[in-house]
Symmetry: C2
Subunit: 314 residues, 2 copies
């Protein structure tokens, strides 16, 4: 089952169920994604019972599947990304056995094709292609074994980053505020069962293609997480109940063979350049630049649709 | 003007206006605090026009004035707190010219007298007495000069902390997730004009009394912020629009003469003990312990009411 949210002029939009053809939809029996996640056990059967899809998607504007959330927690569990980022930032931090995670702004997720307003071109504008999950209510203390039952939907995310602010904020130990403006989501949220073999061990078992200004920049594979989403949920829920509609991200998708598959963010390529030649060469994004991200399964499906956005001045 | 939220069984409660006597209320002309902050310009005159207060507060249960928020950003701008915490954590971080700030869990703020469920007594349960503000929508790029107009209400907060997790999380650079469970708020949110001389230079010009298990633990003065709330708003809004209902905190209230006035958190006292004798002596909170926090103005008013809570096991 795939769900989306159409723009009806309200902050939370209108929840719809997507047809198998990916081109039509039907109104969901509950108004918003947030409401669906709050009462998932009751709502899911009614959502799955929708089988008539007579509205063309071409006629509507899609928002993020969850246009705003009460909580956004982003992991960083692709080891090759972490190692390269430490080089870029010039930080030498001790490895930890738990999944790295920060709390980010959740009051807005950009729609898949919405222009992204960045405060200043000089701040090192970068994309970060990643996967994410949406939970129902997760009781405090839920362990990794019980966590998969709370992973209701899988999403695809662009975690926008401002690199010239990221290093200085990180060095304070307080995490990122200015360096992390709102993220974007691809249009469709997908149940794990719908992904089939493209979801394995609570990880996305598929590639994430990233195009910057039309040129392929990366095609890393998702199933290289050092901790699966089950561990991420358990980490987040150790000392707090997770509110229904919590979004948890994987962090930038990255593979050890990054020279072959490319990267899902510019900073990582700059890290490779530092390793190779001592200094970064690739510049960050400029106003007017575009980025397109689309996950592709082994059998050629694109379950989440595409993020395709342009960076614009305020 | 003082506002509060009464428990009506819904997550956002029912907004009320508090009588000058602090013992009665009237229903507000808008249902929730979140709605009021989203349309403050239109709603404020109607709120101020309420003059008949015939409902006794004793008959209702008060929630946090904003029981859940789309965004919670907590500063740390009392210099003596920062210096002592670095000693406690064993961190030697370079000073920065901007206000330190992290993003925390905003999906729940505990009611002023609600029991606080902590996952594990061994995690170093601590309180942090502080002040906070609630904003309307703040455009991205709003500077400190324009920020005061967006500070609609002042609140009093207990930022619950788990100290044994705080240091390790801080050292990753990602900030705190597990170390920062939900905060609590005192019952009344107060407009800056109502505070009068107890609000000066965008800082709380009053003491914060803290009692732990009935014994006074601290009475630090609020007007010692290294950056006022105007600077905190501007810092938060540099690269993002702040959603209406954003909560921004001051960080733990602390004064340079901490040996005379005491502390607003246990960790700080432990820092003083480390300075004085090389090792901490005071233990953290136990299940069943209580903490009471109440701001007191120079003329003896307690504008926010009191936080008075007990820590309990899950």
């Amino acid at each position: 089952m795939r769900l989306a949210t159409i723009d009806n002029g309200t902050p939370d939009g209108r929840l719809v169920v997507i047809a198998p053809d990916g081109a039509h939809y039907a109104a969901a029996p509950v108004a918003t994604m947030q409401q669906a996640l709050e009462q998932w056990a009751e709502v899911e059967p009614a959502l799955r019972a929708v089988t008539t899809f007579d509205q063309p998607l071409a006629d509507v504007r899609l928002l993020a599947p969850l246009p705003r959330a009460w909580q956004w927690l982003d992991g960083s569990v692709y080891a090759s990304h972490g190692a390269l980022m430490d080089k870029v930032i010039g930080i030498d931090k001790a490895p930890v056995p738990w999944p790295l995670m920060y709390q980010g702004v959740s009051s807005k997720f950009y729609a898949p094709t919405e222009d992204v307003v960045m405060a200043d071109e000089a701040l090192g504008i970068d994309f970060e292609g990643e996967f994410g999950i949406l939970t129902d209510t997760v009781p405090m203390g839920t362990g990794a074994a019980d966590a998969p039952a709370h992973i209701k939907l899988v999403v695809q995310i662009n975690d926008w980053s401002l690199r010239s602010l990221a290093g200085p904020e990180m060095k304070t130990g307080f995490g990122w505020v200015q360096a992390k403006p709102p993220c974007s989501m691809a249009p469709f949220a997908v149940t794990p069962d719908e992904l089939g073999e493209a979801w394995a061990d609570c990880q996305p078992n598929m590639h994430l293609t990233v195009h910057w200004n039309g040129a392929q920049f990366g095609k890393a594979h998702g199933k290289a997480m050092g901790h699966g989403f089950d561990a991420l949920v358990a980490h987040a829920a150790r000392t707090r109940e997770l509110v229904a509609g919590t979004v948890i991200g994987s962090g930038t998708v990255s593979n050890e063979n990054y020279r072959e598959v490319g990267s899902s963010c510019i900073a990582e390529r700059r890290g490779i350049e530092i390793v190779d030649s001592g200094a970064p060469v690739t510049e960050f994004m400029r106003y007017g630049d575009s980025v397109r991200m689309e996950a592709v399964t082994a059998d050629g499906r694109t379950p989440f649709g595409a993020i395709d956005q342009q960076v614009v001045r305020p």
